[in-house]
């Protein structure tokens, strides 16, 4: 079991040492049992830190945000940032290191192990408890979860409410860290791509119907992109939210800027956005599942990115996020790369 007291002690120690400017972790939320990200600057503030199965957020996005924000600071504080990372989050750090977006000294990684289980899926848990108001979820030693509701405590087998990505997860222990809490327990994953294979097994007509129905719902709020740590481009090529305009950008440049998709949420525009994003994340997505969790219309976005992860493994024997020194998937090649589809 991850001992929260040890986590807090380490957080306090590293803050007192002055080596980090703040620590990003999880704290109690104000409106439900789900925690919220917290930024702790004072050593006394570490009391706010919590660790429980509802800590689903991928905090590495805030490292990316800080990297961008700091460019505008006149006297930037360039100390490292302490961050609590689960196994999946640590893979995200590896990808950021691989792409040289951050340096190793920019982060102080406090890893936590998911041990035998993982994190909960909020919807599955709420459904399982049939609308009872949930106060708290905690880990139990035996691989179950204990849920505290208004009616008391209930034990629930973890596999009934685990997030889908945890069921298919290969990294239940952080792959890169400065200090780690919890034990490394080897987990056997028989079907790492079960969700993708389920869709692949559908006939072509049903597959299209499935995606057409799901992607028609999209309102293009871009929450999936905003929450993804790998979507760090200043100017998103498929839909600009920050068109880098300078005072000396000519009117002609602005008028001729290529608009790949229109702003309106038409099905074909939505498909181009989601497919382009999936391909841009090929070999980079580490399946933290945040995109799917935040989508207000409950679109299964994870299935697209997971497909790319599967193809990276099947076609090119490429594993994402375990090695910060490997080349990126799409700007490297092997002589044995398949070419049977090429005439």
């Amino acid at each position: 079991m991850v001992k929260l007291e040890d986590l807090k002690k380490e957080a306090q120690r590293i803050l007192k040492s002055g080596k980090v400017k703040y620590i990003i972790g999880y704290a109690e939320g104000t409106n439900s049992f789900m925690p919220v990200p917290v930024f702790i600057k004072d050593p006394e503030g570490v009391e706010k830190l919590i660790w429980n199965p509802a800590c689903v957020h991928n905090l590495t996005k805030f490292i990316v945000d800080e990297k961008k924000r700091i460019k505008q600071d006149k006297n930037p504080d360039e100390r490292a940032i302490g961050i609590i990372v689960k196994g999946c989050d640590s893979r995200a750090i590896n990808v950021l290191l691989q792409e040289k977006y951050i340096d190793r000294e920019d982060v102080y990684l406090m890893g936590v192990s998911c041990e035998q289980t993982g994190v909960v899926d909020e919807k599955k848990l709420t459904k399982k408890l049939k609308g009872e108001s949930i106060d708290h979820v905690d880990f139990e030693d035996d691989g179950n979860f204990v849920v505290t509701t208004e009616k008391g405590k209930t034990k629930i087998p973890a596999e009934e409410v685990l997030a889908d990505r945890c069921i298919e997860c290969k990294a239940n222990f952080p792959v890169i860290f400065d200090i780690v809490f919890g034990e490394k327990i080897k987990k056997r994953v028989d079907e790492p791509f079960r969700s993708v294979e389920k869709i692949e097994s559908l006939p072509k007509k049903d597959r299209w119907k499935f995606w057409e129905e799901e992607l028609s719902k999209c309102i293009r709020c871009y929450a999936c992109r905003s929450v993804c740590p790998m979507c760090y481009c200043d100017e998103c090529v498929v839909d600009t939210i920050s068109f880098a305009v300078e005072p000396d950008t000519t009117a002609e440049e602005k008028a001729q800027k290529i608009k790949w998709i229109e702003k309106s949420p038409d099905l074909s525009e939505n498909i181009v956005y989601h497919l382009t994003r999936a391909i841009h994340l090929a070999g980079r997505c580490i399946d933290c599942g945040e995109c799917e969790r935040v989508c207000p219309l409950e679109i299964p976005i994870r299935f697209l990115n997971k497909k790319m992860e599967k193809e990276a493994k099947d076609l090119f024997d490429y594993e994402v996020g375990f090695d910060p020194d490997q080349p990126s998937l799409v700007s490297s090649f092997k002589d044995e790369d398949p070419e049977d589809f090429i005439r």
Partner: protein, 345 residues
Amino acid sequence: MEKILQKKSFPKWLEKLEAYEIYAPVKNDSSWSYEAINNPSDIDLDFPNTVQAPKTIINPQREIFLEFCRSEDNTLEIHEVLPEEKPGVIFGVRPCDAKALTLTDLVCSGDVKDEYYGRRRRQTAIVGLSCNTPPSPNCFCVSVDGSPHSEEGFDILMTDLGDRYFVKSLTKKGKELIDLGKTLFTAPKESDKKELKKVHTESEKKLKRQIRDVEKIPPKLKEMFESSFWDEEAMSCLRCGICTYLCPTCHCFDIFDEVTSVAPFKGYRVRTWDNCQFPDFTMHSSGHNPRPDKASRLRQRIMHKYQYFVERYGHYQCTGCGRCVSRCPVGIDIIEVLNKVRDYG
């Protein structure tokens, strides 16, 4: 006019409303949304609240203003496209969402009239369902001059009394709808009226969250414009835009031309929703952006709802539906933020 409608007669009433385009909540897996109804059995009025407010019907996300094309003799033709003239009814609207429509009316049908919004608004009747229990653990309508059984913005307000609905008509349009189903409605008994009062009074006590002393907030916000409070609060904001797109009172938009076919040349002038939490929202063509950071955008959203709108129109622009609180990926809680604002300094 007050009537009783047995629940089993509700589908029969809908059958009498063939001349109307009917919208109502429909269940999709684990959430609900307002959809056009062809089959009364699709409707699920036993719902908390929908993910998106009924503003999607009155103020759709994509709306065509003009259609332009090049005809065979190479002249450019432009046609205005107005909303289809078909009377509509939206069933199952919660009081917070109906009040939100009256607030948007102040902007879109006030001194300046948005004809597209106005047409849809005028031809759509709003039939409400009062909230016997709070639809969301984050509802706080009472704190912002609302109530779970408020009649503001409705043509008809229905209250669920178990096996029957207490139906109250509030406008001429509402009366017309009830008249179409005449024989299905009965007069309410004294016991019905007593039950209604009991349900309404109890519903107000069930809200779990509140903003205390909300009237102290607008003047406090004005003082706090330059404060570093906003930097702290916005630290975890991901500028994802969910709060604004789901908000029933938000109505900002963008207009641009979409060319959908080059040969033959054809296109549309389109209006879509825009989102003040996107970094590009206030981008000027010179390249200057007055709100480049998350803190200024969060401040903008909260001040617009609780200070600018109050100053201009005398109402809070928030109706307490709780969607932004429930759906924020990082748990930024407007109720907590406002409670902190009130106690700041």
